[in-house]
Symmetry: C2
Subunit: 466 residues, 2 copies
């Protein structure tokens, strides 16, 4: 059973856009610049512009738009901040991009229940700014200041996932407009439930291919009483990875444990003026009571010393900590700055942590053999790491070399019982690996997609393709 | 679109059983006693026996059995230990019960990755016994010594969920035989992944209605360096609930925090010889380093005192702790012992913790107004609590009174943004609440069910009904 899709005809498009304009007025744009900006992510993927962009303001409005699109067989592409990395927002079959950036209200904070409900356009930094006086925070932090709707749709994670989980663990419930325009709430606000199929997790990570997310209820966490952070330099990536593995196995509840290889440290030194020794380095953070933070850091220091690390370099002031983590979040831009005129090929894989050192080492050898500059950075406490390639998109040989490298990287991760993507998602960029990873499972994903979106109007060409 | 189902004809049954017998030989039983035992759970639900019971020994065998059942349009009912509570194992349309108790091997423990892979018939106690020398344990502990396949299928939880999560958070991946006999693995062994739809969570909690679970990969946790436990008596349930709420909100990482009301304490005193004061009581346990456990218990003691609790009564010896938690796990049997000749109506709901005190208090008033003995016990750190009713199943008035009570209990929980079941599941017993809880969501659950099991052979009559 194929998931067929063609571009709708001009008449269908025009008739649909007319109906949508009647609904949203001037918040429908067909301006070329707007359309092109909404079809292109940060990476090498050549995005296709949608036929129009709607700046939606409510779930009801989105329901109306999706109903019109369903009637006219027109694709619907949800858009948050456009910071996804695998061609998620491209419109290969045209259609209507639903930009939710104007739906950016924090609807409710239940401090007693440690949860909140937000519209999909609220960004992670905006939410934490809003929460500042509540003693609570939301920990998931992909590099970009992404929207929470987009982070839900791509099952995003970030530096804190090793302690606090990913979007998978932190979305309690969500509202979505399904392919026929029906508005669904996936779960109640209770912390746990055994009532029926888990629609929440079906939508988390579905990348807009099953529904448009219109509201998200998130778990919040108490701001830790004490925080300590710092950096620790190692002789080689293997030693750094092995220190990470032992840290996790020892049950130290580290909040962040991030690896930057020597190439990445060099980029960050240049871009963020860090002045670090250019050697494989771990960025760490510990959360807890003052006593617990002290206990954690001492336990880690003992492990690091065992693997020949330099003494731990503390960032004691909040300002130093923020600078450190801002530099960590800016790695993509740091590498880009070293590669003028080239486009990023950010990619990620995730393996069981016992295979991490091996996977990173083999990948570094592969990079060396190619003679490319391709920094490695990663949420290594989860076994998840990124390689930043940069290519000249007008040079087919350069592109082909990058793609072949990613093929080898994914094959290596899969052979180690890992996944082709830990947090970036499939989008258009990784559809070719889905079968290798999931085998027969893909057939059942396709059955679900066909059942919930029989016309294939929801972000077609992503995850499940024909 | 209805999910139609009728009992298959005698010829279809006979022909299917012949084919299955050719596959499994003497491990197919049609003995009346075996069939009746496999159709009846621990509760008031009047179970219907299947046409036959197969004691399966491998995933391939289960695949073969399901293919035969699909061909003959015969229901398939998976069976672990038969300890579910909402009629999950009853065979209202006959069919073949697949008993997985002989598939009870721990296949692999990856101590470095803190995970393990088990066959579905391994029970939780068996797994922890197996893990004893690894320094790791599996925390999910429903009252019964249930099978891990059954616990996965019902999204079970237990006393440790407040700290370690439920099966939802602890199943990394699973293998299942789908309705056409295909064997699917839902995910790789990496800690996180953004690769496609989350089939793992679709199967967790699907109660055998989407597939038969044949293997489960579980997260394990380090056995804490220090454990302390004890009991704390309160003046009334409201004070106890409010102490729980403040404990959670203060971020104390309590491992277990269980409420027993005075009626439940009386039952446990009688059954497990505990000698506790018969007043609302919290059973608690703290895990961590010795320093952290001390810090946690002191913080809790301060909160309890604020709510007028009696001084904390420590169970310092491992033996005392085990006795305490065994008594907690035996509450169902403790109540049953007080009600000779009656059948249990165990039920559970879960609400946001801010509504817990209110929900428990109103429920106690409802019980008092009925003049029934109905103890309350709960995993109150999650907002989840149980009411144990016991009824004379031959007395229609008695049954009707219990059902009406549960209707009110669920309505109360739903009005407080809670769920009709925190951990028991829907089975046959709670299908009437699914629409009230999920509204339009049920239609999409039905679409998924129809897509993955178009003939409705997988545990029909559970969760999604016509």
């Amino acid at each position: 059973m194929a998931i067929a899709r063609t571009k709708p005809g001009v008449n269908a498009v025009n008739s649909a856009l007319e109906a949508i304009a009647a609904l949203v007025g001037e918040r429908l744009s067909t301006a070329r610049a707007v359309r092109e900006q909404h079809g292109q992510d940060l990476t090498w993927h050549r995005g296709k512009p949608p036929d129009a962009v709607v700046f939606a303001q409510s779930a009801d409005e989105i329901s109306g738009i999706v109903k019109i699109c369903a009637e006219h067989d027109l694709p619907v592409i949800p858009y948050g901040t456009g910071t996804s990395l695998e061609g998620h927002i491209s419109a290969p079959y045209g259609g209507v991009c639903i930009d939710v950036s104007q739906m950016n209200a924090v609807l409710r904070v239940n401090a007693h229940d440690m949860d909140c409900t937000v519209q999909p356009g609220v960004t992670r930094k905006q939410l934490n700014e809003y929460l500042r006086d509540t003693g609570l925070f939301f920990p998931i932090d992909p590099g970009a200041d992404a929207s929470l709707g987009g982070m839900t749709a791509t099952r995003a994670s970030g530096t804190n996932a090793v302690r606090y989980g990913t979007m998978r663990e932190n979305v309690l419930s969500l509202n979505a407009v399904m392919a026929d325009g029906t508005l669904v709430r996936t779960a109640r606000r209770a912390r746990k439930s055994a009532a029926g199929y888990d629609l929440t997790h079906l939508l988390v990570g579905s990348e807009g291919t099953l529904g448009v997310i219109t509201e998200v209820t998130l778990r919040l966490h108490g701001i830790p009483e004490a925080v300590s952070a710092g950096v620790c330099a190692f002789g080689d990536v293997e030693a750094a990875c092995n220190a990470v593995i032992m840290t996790i196995q020892s049950g130290i509840p580290v909040a962040r444990i991030e690896l930057l290889d020597e190439v990445q440290v060099r980029c960050c030194n240049a871009y963020s003026d860090l002045g670090l020794k250019e050697t494989p380095t771990l960025f760490l953070e510990f959360h807890g009571s003052p006593a617990s933070v002290k206990e954690q850091s001492e336990s880690f220091a003992a492990i690091a010393a065992e693997f020949g690390a330099a003494p731990f370099d503390w960032a004691t002031e909040a300002e130093d900590r923020n600078r450190l983590w801002q530099a960590r979040h800016d790695v993509f831009y740091a590498v880009q700055a070293m590669m003028p005129g080239k486009k990023g090929f950010a990619t990620d894989v995730c393996v069981p942590i016992s295979r991490l050192a091996e996977c990173v080492s083999e990948t570094k050898k592969d990079i060396e053999a190619l003679g490319r500059i391709a920094p490695i950075v990663g949420h290594v406490g989860d076994g998840n790491f990124h390689v930043s390639l940069f290519a000249d998109v007008d040079d087919p040989d350069d592109l082909a070399e990058c793609k072949a490298f990613i093929d080898r990287l994914v094959a290596r991760a899969l052979a180690m019982e890992g996944t082709c993507t830990g947090e970036h998602g499939i989008g258009q960029g990784k559809t070719r690996f889905l079968e290798a990873e999931h085998g027969e499972g893909v057939r059942f994903m396709r059955l679900v997609k066909n059942a919930l979106d029989p016309k294939n109007i929801m972000n077609p060409g992503k995850i499940i393709t024909a």
